[in-house]
Subunit: 262 residues, 2 copies
DNA sequence: TACACTCGTCTCTTGTAAGAGACAAAATCT
DNA sequence: AGATTTTGTCTCTTACAAGAGACGAGTGTA
């Protein structure tokens, strides 16, 4: 059953090397475009995923023909195509949690004026699946699809609830424990946080991703004990105790509502 | 550049036959899931795209590991995965026209109460890229991602504006000319319709897809003369001349607004 | 006008992935 | 309980795709 199978052992990378399977090349291409977030020339693409140029041309042509990628009007650079958008919408349609979660997040940020996000694990990485900006003058950064080390976030602590310590270790690299400001988190503390978050049913982190915000998160369950996603609010770090409490209450309420129809 | 290259020759299908490239198999799998619109067992999937079972298992595993597909909780059936959703959102972000088009369509259907759609060509096929349902008691069918023969729609007539007759023939099969009620359209008439739509700057079709609706469409240009998309409204066939005229005016206005910042 | 790039296409070779098929275990039917 | 189908995994062969590299055309820069 899909357990820690050989290939899933994270990085791997196998020293680049020889004959690579076409499909893998394609997966790398897609992932690369996801990180660049913009159209890119085929030559650069080949460099970026370090694949041979000839191969890259062939694969890109297939993908463009299939509509997964689209050629920019300049006839050289490529980026994601309509087909991927359509498949993505299919995913949304087939996924109640995501569809309703997006809705709740949008509501929440409109009602509170704060930045709100829906987060999930995506192949072992913390991922912001949907974000709604809030109305504060200074924009709190956060974009859909962004991937962040689990230990930097409140949501990360909730998403790992119920996992064995060894499993957690497997999902968190040493680099992940180093915060943006250079401080290093101890794994023991992180594991302890996870346990605490599980029993309290929410999690707050202050000044982890940056010094000026704190992050409030509540779990969304797909089954008793199984955390499928989190909803969170990103607020200024000097938000009062009182308001923070209110927001957490609201957040937990909405997250619970989402949990119902798993 | 990219002109009618060998592979693009539509159907092809090559009588199924022998060794198929892995990537192609994957593309077929994705397309198959797009048509079924729901999770499906791996065995059935193999049948559906008629690929060997062993191959299908291998490919599906790759795709699941990569997050393009997700395994249903029953551990057998698969459907689209979060990665595809994220890539799809990347596409939206990188595509002004789509982003603003979705917005306009939502506005339009809210303001008029009618079903509204944004349509584009997707590898030679007419595709409903975004749809917003409208408030009428009877739901007019139309789903995002739906693909319909070009001659059945008003939008189809606009999207082919400016193409040579031979190009049009290449994009329309004989089957496409047969309407849902069995009537057969003459290709000449269709080509004539396209020319007419181009000069009038909008298009109305009555009772083509079904007997109870008419379809109003207006073109969205990405460059002078180049129709990139259409916006359309689907209304009851007995809508008065007067209201139809109003709606067309509104539609053309909004479509023109979309055309500005190509 | 030479020089140093990158781009897109082609050809040829060989390493390897697609596929056939066999298998045990699980699920489903009778 | 036996019969029948389906599921997931494995092995082995060979057809063929990935890759190396050469080529001409295009672009910039010294």
């Amino acid at each position: 059953m899909q357990d820690g199978n050989a290939s899933a052992v994270s990085a791997g990378e196998k020293i680049s090397g020889s004959r690579e399977k076409g499909l893998n090349r394609v997966l790398e291409i897609l992932e690369f475009l996801h990180t660049t977030q913009r159209a890119i020339g085929i030559g650069d693409l080949a460099k970026g995923v370090n694949a041979p140029r000839s191969t890259t041309y062939t694969l890109v042509r297939s993908l463009v023909d299939a509509g997964l990628l689209e050629m920019e009007s300049d006839g050289n650079r490529v980026y994601f195509g309509k087909k991927l958008y359509l498949y993505g919408m299919d995913y949304v349609r087939g996924n109640d949690l995501l569809r309703r979660g997006r809705q709740e997040v949008d509501n929440l940020s409109r009602e509170t004026g704060e930045t709100s996000e829906l987060c999930m694990l995506q192949s072992g990485r913390y991922t912001i699946v949907h974000a709604s900006p809030g109305t504060r003058p200074f924009r709190i950064s956060s974009a859909t699809g962004l991937q962040i080390p689990l230990p930097w976030t409140a949501s990360g602590r909730l998403l790992l609830a119920g996992l064995e310590r060894t499993e957690i270790e497997g999902m968190v690299s040493d680099d992940d424990l180093v915060l943006p400001d250079g401080r290093k988190l101890r794994l023991d503390d992180f594991v302890a946080d996870i346990g605490k978050a599980e029993v309290t049913g929410y999690c707050v982190t202050s000044g982890l991703v940056d010094a000026y915000t704190k992050c409030l998160a509540a779990p969304v369950f797909s089954a008793p004990g199984k955390v499928e996603a989190t909803m969170c609010l990103v607020v200024p770090i000097d938000t009062s105790e009182e308001r923070t409490g209110e927001l957490i209450g609201l957040l937990r309420d909405r997250a619970a509502r989402l949990s119902i129809a798993a």
